[in-house]
Amino acid sequence: MTSKKYILGVFEDEDVLLNAIEKTRAAGTKIYDVFSPYPIHGIDDVLGIQRSRLPIVAFFCGLCGTSFALWMQIYMLGFDWPMIIGGKPHVALPSFIPVTFELTVLFAAFGMVITFFIISGLRPTLKVPVMDVRSTDDKYVMAIELKEGTDISKLNDLLRSNGAVEVNQKEVVK
């Protein structure tokens, strides 16, 4: 059992929060995460979160789907068990297109979802620390991990001077 301590800055306004994030990061403090009742526009940029690379995964999964579908149909209908359907050649590409399209979409979608679960560690046993229940209602909470040697009072001043209405501490057991 490891436990981590966090300093929580509670904010009441979106714009104040965005401003505070910028100031806090400019002061060299690493922000663990920010909790808000709804997605805040532009917060990714302010927090310095990189754009997701999931589309690349989608592309390659889609490519796998396309190749798999084409291979499957060409092999099965053309070589493994050739059948004449509607008087068409065994390998009749136009009739393979719908299946190829569907499998491309299926592979891309499943690949993306599975990758997302793995990368973000979402699993049934995952425990999500709720820093402050009010962040699901009307407050915005900025969490900063408390490491050994962190100056708490300095952090407190920094948060308060940037508009935090409360500064709390929370211990999370993992």
Binding site: H41, G42, R51, P55, F59, G86, G87, K88, P94, S95, I97, P98
Partner: protein
């Protein structure tokens, strides 16, 4: 832009005049060889028809785009709205050209060789030319009704263009929400009108060239082609205006949305294309498959390369190039793709119109390029003139502020 249009127009006319000279020689050569050719008159007529149908489509798509933005209460597009709004100005010119190209050959020679069904001997029982299939369609495909429809489409489209344009200009002066609300009502009405007229005009102008053949997808197919070319035209104009120093408030976010439109609808076009192709290919009924036989393998493989080129430039190229987010946000990539799509869909219409009118004799020479440039020049002249009549930013649009801060 007007300068550019004029230069293109002059160049186009010059080339067209030159090719007229070259034409006579070609006709001579053909006559000496004792060959039967479709003749340069037919070729010119087919070219006029092709370019006019194509550019009319782009013009009406401009009006449609604005209408959709109003009906959807869209905010992002306000900054670029003046571009599609001005596109519709070509409709008047287009309508007149279309009417003349249709009616003049009928007045002088009795029937229009572009549209086979206008030959009245096909409808007379007992005449050696009698064609029961075409005669059976004469309730819809007759010269009078066709002319009435043609005039009606253009009158309706042009009227709606004028109305929406007037509201938009009045809004610049007066402000307030009245003009906006009225535009929404106009836009919604136009969507209904366009829903019917777009399919019908596609049957009239393009499908009726192959009179015996029919396709229930055809209205959609022509619409998809028009729509994606219209979007490409809007995007290209916005980029060019921005690079010339106008439209400073348009950011890569607006371009991104336009890019998504172009990307998405080039796939939509492919979807429609394939839906039509696959059913005919699969059923393989002679009277239906003949349409694709003419284009793929038929006519001595005259159209085969265009058939595949059409798919590559209108589907594979935009699909692969515009796939990433960065490509949609960069002007250079978007520009290349938009130009490719505009050229590609010209070829798409070429493929729809030429086999039915020119058989295996259609060419791609000075007369094609000349006519295309002349039309492009005229289009750009009319379009830029309209564009310059109003501020590029609709200053009193209620969603202007939202559009300025648009962020994706």
């Amino acid at each position: 832009m007007i300068g550019l249009g004029l230069v293109l127009l002059v160049v186009g006319l010059f080339i067209a005049a030159n090719s007229g000279g070259g034409h006579g020689e070609a006709a001579h050569g053909a006559a000496e060889a004792g060959h039967h050719t479709a003749g340069w008159g037919q070729r010119l007529l087919a070219n006029l028809w092709l370019n006019n149908v194509y550019l009319t489509g782009i013009a009406v798509v401009g009006v449609l785009f604005v209408a959709i933005q109003y009906v959807a209460y869209a905010g992002w597009s306000v900054l670029i709205k003046r571009v599609p709004e001005a596109l519709g100005s070509y409709l008047l010119v287009g309508g007149i050209i279309m009417l003349l190209v249709f009616i003049l050959p009928i007045i002088f020679t009795g029937h229009n060789t572009l549209l086979h069904w206008t030959d009245h001997s096909l409808h007379e029982v007992g005449n050696p030319n009698y064609d029961p299939i075409i005669a059976g369609k004469s309730g819809y495909l007759n010269i009078t009704f066709f002319t009435i429809r043609l005039v009606a489409y253009f009158a309706l489209w042009y009227m709606f263009f004028k109305w929406m344009r007037r509201e938009s200009m009045a809004e610049d002066l007066n402000g307030g929400l009245n003009h906006y609300n009225k535009s929404i009502r106009l836009g919604a009405t136009f969507l209904v009108v366009f829903g019917v007229t777009s399919s019908m005009s596609a049957w009239d102008w393009v499908l009726s060239i192959d009179t015996h053949w029919f396709s229930t997808m055809f209205g959609w197919y022509v619409f998809a082609s028009w729509w994606v070319s219209g979007l490409a035209a809007v995007t290209l104009t916005v980029i060019i205006l921005k690079q010339m120093g106008y439209m400073k408030m348009v950011t890569s976010n607006h371009l991104h949305d336009l890019g998504k439109f172009v990307f998405g609808f080039s796939i939509f076009w492919t979807y429609i294309w394939f839906s039509q192709f696959m059913l005919y290919w699969y059923a393989n009924i002679p009277e239906e498959a003949i349409y694709f036989m003419e284009r793929l393998g038929g006519n001595n493989n005259h159209y085969t390369w265009i058939f595949f080129f059409n798919l590559v430039i209108n589907f594979a190229f935009p699909f692969l190039v515009l796939m990433t987010r960065d490509a949609k946000r960069q002007m250079i990539m978007l520009k290349i793709v938009c130009i490719a799509i505009l050229i590609g869909h010209w070829f798409d219409f070429y493929l729809m119109i030429m086999p039915g009118t020119m058989r295996g004799e259609s060419g791609f020479g000075l007369i094609e390029i000349g006519t295309a440039l002349t039309f492009l020049g005229t289009f750009l002249l009319v379009f830029t003139k309209e564009l310059s009549k109003a501020s590029l930013v609709p200053v009193n649009h209620p969603f202007l502020e939202e559009s300025i801060h648009h962020h994706v």
